[in-house]
Symmetry: C3
């Protein structure tokens, strides 16, 4: 069901129902970006649905496969799959309604998903005891992996690797690092998770606003 | 061995030997399409063999990895691997013999594989109890996933996402849906599986014959 | 820790500390090739780090996922991840220092990694009892899979599929076949593993020196 019992607690440590709603919002935002890219590529219904689902659920699925925690929620969670597919269907008919203003809203919800999933992904990896660097890596994979799979399936270079892209994975990596640090100091608490997710969210929004880029390779002397 | 004992029953519920032969025919047809694409791309022996194997076995392997059922038959089944590799080798020397008429035969066997694997893939997912939508999704992945991996490895946009492609995944999705419906109504039987596989096969052949396309995104007003 | 106790024995059957050092050298060489490709593609820090890690660790991770042996060392082994990331960081600032001479050294270490990983990958697959062909396939995946994932993520056709490429996977396949043969004859010993790894290494270097290519598809009569 969409809402867990009121006294249940989610991965983050907050009310499970609240966390669930935030997750579903993030998933819809991810699915919008996948569906829109498929439309822009001239894909048909199949391409739009697959890109919506893969973008929304691919990062978490990849994390779970790498953890040995299959089947992932991408497969077992009817809400995840249904909302991703439903978002794809909406994009089929409404893609041209996503104007400048709506796209900005999508980016805000996408940033919320980035913040939330880098925290929940890192926490899940820590549960499986895969070490500090591995947990950070899988936190980033959870939050940003779907976008990479989306671009590969669309036949494009991953947007977030390109030097003209605005910071996306790096806020997630910093957030994942903060969670691992808190866990190693035995001081993880729901408040930490919420604060880190919010900081990643804010950092991503600031990167969009001020067009912050990741560092590029040192140019050398034209000899590379 | 290629033939199971006479009284054994396969995934579908029919005689295991018959099902096995049908599966191997489908796998060879998938491998032909992978090997031919590799030849067209100017690949060498390595590319031809890898594309043959990945196209033939990638969908089932992806399903098993997502189910947590690794190692998949793609790895453990010597006949699967051997036939895929052998088909690749044949394509190395005989690709130019695949004329119009032979290619039509390949498409027919490929359609048979599509029908069979969407049913067996869905049934396997149901065994793992991953829910209705997840089972339909994994049925489609089993039947059509190899073709997507083939195109990605060849550096092309997945053919079945393109709006100039003829229905491929949608018959598989309808078939997978019918199987899940029958299972939820507790009325799955071998006859149902055979009928659904045959219907998917027929639908795919009709799509090829009449060039049926999947719906394209609603065009909007040129503003997307 | 980087060095195992002196009397420990690695996968290959040799001193575990020696094997460990060889593995780490191979991983760094793989990571260099990933990082350099990312720089050439104009990627930013994220692209350079991801391609370094995926090239270095992707083959072994794919093998472990296909074996059902997740989480792979790619995730759990801090040295693997740390060295791959560190190599990526070095490439960010030093890519233009990889001149002709240094690149030759990278190719030599890469060939050493190819030899070592095809043997250790095959041995691991044999432990999981996946059959002869499957073990050979997973040995090749271990050694060469990272390079394929690297090229796909960079938006390029896999270099090792192209007919202008110099033998890479085929020495690995021959080596994996030799290991499986020895295992099936119950005559595997550390000396066999070392000899096969050395032979794969030498074969790859000879292929580079003499520009040996894999067979291309039979040309036919211009009718393909």
């Amino acid at each position: 069901v969409i809402a867990a019992p009121v006294d249940a607690v989610g991965t983050l440590g907050i009310d499970a129902g609240v966390e669930r709603v935030l997750e579903l919002v993030g998933i819809v935002a991810f699915a919008v970006s996948g569906g829109l890219l498929a439309v822009r590529q001239g894909f048909d219904l199949v391409g739009v649905l697959v890109l919506s689902v893969v973008t929304a659920l691919g990062g978490g699925a990849l994390r779970d496969v790498l953890l040995g925690a299959a089947p992932p929620a991408a497969v077992t969670d009817g809400w995840y799959l249904g909302l991703s597919l439903g978002t794809g269907l909406v994009m089929m008919v409404a893609h041209h309604r996503i104007d400048q203003r709506l796209w900005r809203a999508v980016l805000v919800f996408d940033a919320a998903g980035l913040g939330l999933f880098c925290v929940t992904g890192t926490l899940k990896a820590l549960e499986f005891d895969v070490g500090a660097l591995g947990s950070i890596g899988l936190g980033v994979v959870t939050a940003a992996g779907g976008g990479v799979l989306r671009d590969v399936l669309a036949g494009e270079q991953p947007q977030m690797f390109r030097s003209d892209s605005v910071l996306y994975s790096i806020p997630a990596a910093l957030g994942a690092g903060a969670i691992v640090g808190a866990a190693e100091a035995d001081s993880y608490a729901a408040g930490v998770g919420v604060a880190v997710a919010a900081a990643v969210f804010a950092l991503r929004l600031a990167a969009l606003r001020f067009r912050w880029h990741a560092p590029r390779p040192w140019p050398g002397r034209g000899s590379s």
